[in-house]
Amino acid sequence: MSHYEAPIREPLIIGNKSYHDITVDVAAPVEGKANKKWWIAFTIALLAFLYGIGAIIYTIGTGIGVWGLNNRINWAWDITNFVWWVGIGHAGTLISAVLLLFRQKWRMGINRSAEAMTIFAVFQAGLFPIIHMGRVWNAFYVLPIPNALGSLWVNFNSPLLWDVFAISTYLSVSLVFWYTGLLPDFAMLRDRAVRPFQKKIYSLLSFGWSGRLKDWQRFEEVSLVLAGLATPLVLSVHTIVSMDFATSVIPGWHSTIFPPYFVAGAIFSGFAMVQTLLLIMRKVSNLEAYITKVHIENMNKVILLTGGIVSVAYITEFFIGWYSGSSYEDYTYLSVGAATGPYWWAFWALITCNFIFPQTLWFKKLRTNFVWSFFISIVINIGMWFERFDIIVIDLSRGHLPSSWTMFSPTFVDVAIFIGTIGFFFVLFLLYARTFPVIAQAELKSILKSSGENYKKLRGDNHE
């Protein structure tokens, strides 16, 4: 079998690695003991999570009046956070599904963690609409079952209900996609486990995976078909989220550009979050040989592309708003009114973080620099939060009726719930990093001979 790959392609696995070395490196964080830094990070995340739980309990007990929402601005931080988290959750499926269809081998070093991040982010996203219902015990009303009031059905004309279907399909399909990929890697941990308890746990998790030839054949086919299904799915999810806004008649929301623009924005923010996590993880878990400069640079290229799409959308919105000559369009989130009005700081935060800073990635020196990549990823995370805040709050703050114009200020409960979800996200991710095989090692082994540095060198020497 030929393992040839063009020598011009940079290796994806650095160093003199054998199949066994990959096993050892991936199993190391699971088999080793957590160090002090992990415990510190975990404690901080857990405290933030508990703080958020307290705020959620307070909200549910008292009612959503404890939030900063008012008559005019009836969606604010809650929906901002919801859209922000769903958007972040787009990168995992994009990396594992779209890049699989495009046969991008660099996906294999990062897809596992990106998918984990997706699932954990969608958990956070799902919390917000449910809490926002106020009476969370009635949350089952969104399901298409005859409800307690008689045989009254859900409204299938509503994009909010489409959201329920889209996000639950997305979460559950991402979960099985991730889990199916995990089976061989859990089996690897199971067969290496020394402690009986560990062996038991990983036996249970690996579903008795044995690595038969027929199993692998089905495994690969299932992965490919799931990738084919997940690709339009991931596009549909944020399309439908954007329809929550686009099908309304609020100036600034009622925009046909929203679906593609939201999807690009979601990928943009999701890749930024993957970048944030991976840059830390490759250091902490000693995975520098598998998450290399090539991976980081490729991620930055995707960020640059999707950031470019988002920027074009901003310019279009801004121009069309101005060109319409309508006074209502002069205070949408991308307009002269927004740039100079009371929310100027939110407008310029968006433009600076999402439009200006990512342009630095055009320079190879900067996009291959780990520190700069980390900084940019944080900036984009902040910028994309502001994008959703701007769309929701700025657009709502100036309606058709001037007497109801108002500003929004969050209460500590709004802030606490947001911090709580960040804490919850990191609690899940930190636990994942210590108990799961964080790299799809089985898949990675299949490209070792074609993309490993030592094998590439060996072939290069033979040619001469």
């Binding site: 079998m1 054998s18 199949y19 066994h20 096993t23 298409p144 045989s151 059905w153 859900v154 409204n155 299938f156 004309n157 994009p159 209900l161 489409w162 279907f165 889209a166 399909t169 559950s172 399909v173 099985v176 996609f177 199916t180 089976l183 061989p184 089996a187 690897m188 199971r190 067969d191 290496r192 036996s203 249970l204 579903f207 008795g208 995976w209 044995s210 690595g211 038969r212 030839l213 027929k214 199993d215 692998w216 054949q217 089905r218 495994f219 086919e221 299932v222 078909v225 799931l226 299904l229 997940a230 339009p232 799915l233 549909s236 329809m243 089985a442 898949e443 082994k445 299949s446 001979k449």
Partner: protein, 172 residues
């Protein structure tokens, strides 16, 4: 005459692949191969038929699409038609544009989940299932080939050794 199954362990996928090709050419029966990762071309070399799991997924997807169409038509048009926000739902044709997102979602939902369940059932993967790989190294960096013969066992063993097998033993 009863047949004997020999287990041969390889430590390289290319050596394994050429061994499988040679064994097939010599008309040996390959019982099973355990590998730590998917070795491309091995299924063809071992004479495995293509999997039909993608076809099942297509059928499941059609079921999902049909279910979504029936469900929304029943709930919104047949059972309890309402005029919501000036958008009456008195016929399927009038309402169908609003139904498309959920038709799509349920198609994907059915196609993905039922296919994965089919995969787990067919490959016998479920919680508490005991692993059946004969050697724990086959999830790390070794490849185990089970090949059976009714003829001379010694010949097969020597053949496997020549092909590069690291360890050879008779399956109990």
């Amino acid at each position: 005459m009863s047949s004997t199954t020999i287990q041969a362990i390889f430590d390289d996928d290319d050596v394994l692949l050429s061994a499988v090709k040679d064994l097939k050419a010599a008309n040996y029966r390959i019982e099973e191969i355990f590998t730590p990762f998917p070795v491309h071309g091995l299924d063809k070399a071992a004479g495995l038929k293509n999997t039909r799991i993608a076809i099942t997924s297509f059928i499941y997807g059609l079921i999902g699409l049909g279910f979504a169409t029936w469900m929304m038509n029943f709930m919104m048009v047949a059972d309890w038609p309402q005029n919501i926000g000036g958008k009456p739902s008195f016929s399927f044709a009038e309402n169908s544009p609003a139904f498309i997102p959920i038709m799509f979602e349920l198609t994907v939902f059915f196609a993905a989940h039922l296919m994965v369940i089919t995969f787990y059932m067919r490959s016998k993967l479920w919680p508490f299932k005991k692993a059946e790989n004969p050697d724990v190294r086959t999830t790390d960096d070794h490849f185990l080939l089970e090949v059976s013969t009714v003829n001379d066992v010694k010949t097969l063993e020597n053949l496997l050794k020549d092909m590069g097998a690291k360890e050879i033993k008779t399956k109990a």
